[in-house]
C-alpha cells in the first residue's frame, strides 16, 4: 500500500507525456546531423546526433518551447542545422525561386502557343487547282 502511494506521488516526476514524446520526435526529425549531413539527428548514429538528441530531450523536460530549442541549435550550429530553412529576406530566393521559375515557364509556354500572324494566302484559281491535281495524278 505504501509502495502504491509512493508511486502515485513519484509518478508525475518521471512521466514523459505523449505530447512531449510527439514534440521530441518532431524536433529530432527536423534537426540535421552535421556529421552525417543527409540524416536528421533522429536517424543518425553519429555521437553528435546522440548528444543533440539528449540535449533536445533535456530541454523538453526543462519546459523549453520548440522555438527555444530550435534557437539553441541555430545559435550554435547556424541555420544549416534546420531542415526547414527560415523564411527571411535572404532566403526568399530559396523558398520562392522554384515557384517563380515554374510561373515563368508557364508564361513562356502561353506566349509561344499564340498562333503566329497568319500569312495571307495567295488565292488559287479553280483552273490552276484542277491543272495541278491532274498533273500529280499523271506522275503516279
Amino acid at each position: 500500500m505504501r509502495i502504491l502511494l509512493l508511486m502515485l506521488i513519484c509518478g508525475p516526476l518521471w512521466a514523459w507525456s505523449d505530447a512531449e514524446e510527439q514534440r521530441y520526435q518532431a524536433l529530432i526529425e527536423e534537426l540535421r546531423c552535421l556529421v552525417c549531413q543527409n540524416q536528421s539527428i533522429a536517424e543518425s548514429n553519429a555521437d553528435l546526433a546522440k548528444d543533440l538528441r539528449g540535449q533536445a530531450r533535456d530541454m523538453i523536460e526543462a519546459g523549453r518551447s520548440d522555438a527555444e530549442i530550435r534557437a539553441y541549435m541555430t545559435e550554435r550550429y547556424g541555420d544549416f542545422v534546420l531542415y526547414r530553412p527560415p523564411l527571411q529576406p535572404r532566403t526568399w530566393a530559396l523558398w520562392f525561386g522554384p515557384f517563380l521559375l515554374l510561373l515563368a515557364g508557364f508564361w513562356l509556354l502561353w506566349r509561344l502557343r499564340r498562333p503566329a500572324d497568319p500569312v495571307p494566302e495567295a488565292p488559287v484559281s479553280e483552273e490552276r487547282l484542277q491543272a495541278l491535281l491532274k498533273d500529280s495524278q499523271r506522275h503516279d
Partner: protein, 176 residues
C-alpha cells in the same frame, strides 16, 4: 518576340547551370559558424592533468587558440606538429579542449607526442563542445584578447591555413 522567347529558356538554363556548378565546388562539410564575432561561450571545466578549473576567462587577455582534440581523433595527429610550433610562439596562447575523451587516454596521447597546450580543458560529455558548435574533431577557434571568437577552422590545421590566414589574422588582432 519570337526570337527572344527562344533565347530565354537557354539563358535560364545557363544561369542555373552556373549557379549549381558554383554550388558543387562548395564543401558542405564546412559549416559556417554563427559564433564568429560573438563572445566565447562560457564554460568551466577541470584541467587535464591538473586540479584547477579553466573557464572562458582564461581565453582573454591575449590572442588565444582554442583547439578541439581527442586521443581517439586520427586527423588530430596530422596537425600536431603545427600545434607544437604554434605553441612555442609568444604572440599566441594555445589552449586545448579535450573532447569526449578519457583523461588517461588523453594524458597518454600527450605524453607520447608532446603537449603543445598551456592547458587542456576536459569536456568529457561534449556539452561544452555543443555550446561552441563543435561537430567534428579537430576544430580550432581563434579568440581575441576581449574573448570574442574571430575565426574557426574546421579540420586539421594546415601550413597553408596557418601562413595564409591564421598568422595574418593574429597580426591584425595584435595591431588593434
Amino acid at each position: 518576340m519570337k526570337r527572344w522567347a527562344f533565347a530565354l529558356p537557354l539563358l535560364v538554363v545557363v544561369g542555373l547551370v552556373g549557379l549549381l556548378g558554383a554550388g558543387l565546388k562548395l564543401d558542405p562539410t564546412i559549416v559556417d559558424s554563427p559564433l564568429i564575432g560573438k563572445p566565447a561561450p562560457a564554460f568551466e571545466l577541470p584541467v587535464l592533468g591538473g586540479d584547477r578549473l579553466i573557464s572562458e576567462r582564461d581565453l582573454t587577455g591575449g590572442v588565444s587558440l582554442f583547439n578541439v582534440w581527442a586521443s581517439w581523433c586520427v586527423a588530430c595527429r596530422l596537425e600536431h606538429d603545427i600545434l607544437v610550433e604554434l605553441g612555442k610562439r609568444d604572440d599566441i596562447r594555445l589552449y586545448g579542449l579535450n573532447y569526449k575523451d578519457e583523461p588517461d587516454d588523453a594524458q597518454r596521447w600527450l605524453a607520447r607526442r608532446g603537449n603543445p597546450y598551456r592547458l587542456s580543458a576536459m569536456d568529457r560529455d561534449g556539452r561544452v563542445g555543443i555550446d561552441w558548435g563543435v561537430y567534428g574533431v579537430p576544430e580550432t577557434f581563434v579568440v581575441d584578447a576581449d574573448g570574442v571568437i574571430r575565426a574557426k577552422h574546421i579540420g586539421p590545421l594546415t601550413e597553408d591555413y596557418v601562413n595564409d590566414e591564421l598568422l595574418p589574422l593574429i597580426r591584425e588582432l595584435k595591431d588593434t
